[in-house]
């Protein structure tokens, strides 16, 4: 099977939504699942982080962040000129695509663990680091010369919103506790991870189904963008991962991070900072098209890309 079985729960949720089933994941359960996933991913990364020298991670992180800045900068002119979108909409969508998706990353981790492909555990640090810069670039692009931005509220939303808070909190707890200290929590946070991810994907499918129904109003350009942009970003990610010396598994994860578009943190931040942008466009493209594209079709392609670039033997020692 080319993809990880948990993605079928997304299909089930989407089908339930499209068939107008009475299935609804209560808000508090959704909150619980998202808190669980963020903490579990953070903890997993923190435990692994201790195994690597900090200097190496810092240098790689810097390169990865600079390369990631290319994504909104490529997306914006395409959205403006080819798509004919307003400055606000183009900036907002560029920010969404430059930022990252935790759930897409989780599915990629499941993809690797199913195939027993190793990866650098510290890549989870990139989830924290890559979420915000693209949002700031997106806001600057959207608002350039058009009035004040609520920076304070927007940055507060991003930094102290639960995703960065729990991811980095989990990282620090995992780092302090170490593999032995975290053992008593293994059963909850690591063994149950895929089951919880499956439930979360069921909810994602339900939410996405409301966006899928709106797809026809977006127009062909945005649909095409939502498929082509992750592919372009994945090529940049796979090349960057190979150049900085990541393993094939790590390169696949980086390509997936670059390809993924944020649909949880970014919409809230953009709604505050660029309120004139239409949120239906960015969330619809990111969640209705790019997310399913990434988990069903993208992952095997990004795996192939990672192997391809590694096969070329390009690397900077």
């Amino acid at each position: 099977m080319p993809f990880e079985p948990v993605v079928f729960f997304f299909v089930l949720g989407a089908a339930a939504g499209l068939l107008r089933s009475d299935l609804k994941i209560p808000g508090s359960i959704y909150e619980f699942l998202s808190i669980y996933l963020l903490l579990a991913i953070g903890l997993k990364g923190g435990v692994k982080l201790a195994e690597y020298p900090l200097g190496e991670i810092a240098l790689v992180s810097l390169v990865v962040m600079v390369a990631a800045a290319a994504i909104p900068l490529i997306a914006f002119p395409v959205l403006r000129t080819v798509g004919g979108l307003s400055r606000a909409d183009a900036g907002s969508i560029a920010g969404h695509y430059g930022s990252v998706s935790v759930v897409t990353f989780s599915v990629a981790v499941a993809f690797l663990s199913k195939r027993a492909i190793p990866y650098e555990g510290y890549l989870i640090v990139f989830l924290v680091l890559l979420e915000m810069p693209a949002l700031i670039i997106g806001v600057i692009l959207a608002k350039h010369g058009s009035g004040p931005v609520r920076w304070g509220k927007m940055l507060h939303e991003v930094f102290f919103g639960k995703s960065i808070l729990l991811l980095s909190g989990g990282l620090i707890i995992g780092l302090i506790a170490g593999p032995e200290g975290i053992k008593p929590l293994d059963a909850l946070f690591f063994d149950l991870f895929k089951g919880m991810l499956a439930l979360f994907l069921l909810e994602m499918g339900l939410v996405a189904s409301t966006r899928i129904a709106e797809l026809k109003t977006y127009g062909a350009f945005l649909l095409g963008f939502a498929v082509v942009m992750p592919l372009v970003a994945a090529v940049i990610g796979a090349l960057t991962g190979t150049l900085v010396g990541l393993s094939v598994g790590g390169t696949l994860l980086l390509a997936t991070l670059y390809a993924s578009a944020s649909y949880i943190a970014a919409p809230a931040a953009m709604r505050i900072a660029v309120p004139e942008a239409n949120p239906a466009l960015s969330i619809g493209a990111a969640l209705g098209v790019t997310f399913p594209f990434n988990i069903f079709i993208g992952l095997p392609i990004y795996y192939w890309l990672a192997e391809f670039f590694h096969g070329l033997g390009v690397s900077v020692p």
């Binding site: 609804k24 994941i25 808000g27 959704y30 909150e31 609520r150 509220k153 507060h156 909810e203 339900l206 939410v207 409301t210 949880i264 919409p267 809230a268 709604r271 505050i272 309120p275 004139e276 239906a280």
Partner: protein, 96 residues
Amino acid sequence: MTSQPKTLLTIITEGVLENSLIDDFKRLGVIGYTISEARGLGTHGLRTGNWRKDGNIRVDIVADSDQCARIVDQLRADYDRDYGLLMYSCPVDLHG
């Protein structure tokens, strides 16, 4: 039973504005407010509320009519152009 005439102002808007509204209320001297989650259909489309940031909030404030008018003017100026915002008020008797 003692009661005094007041105005009940109800605001229905996007959940993402909650923190901003609370700051505005403080600035405008609002003594108390009640916020609850809400869902429904309006000119900004269906707000299912099954997603934290996709939901609406409903804010109830009981205050003097002048203060309610100031709140309405402020919120209309700040948010009405870009956000879903519905406000209505009615006279109420405040007991106790």
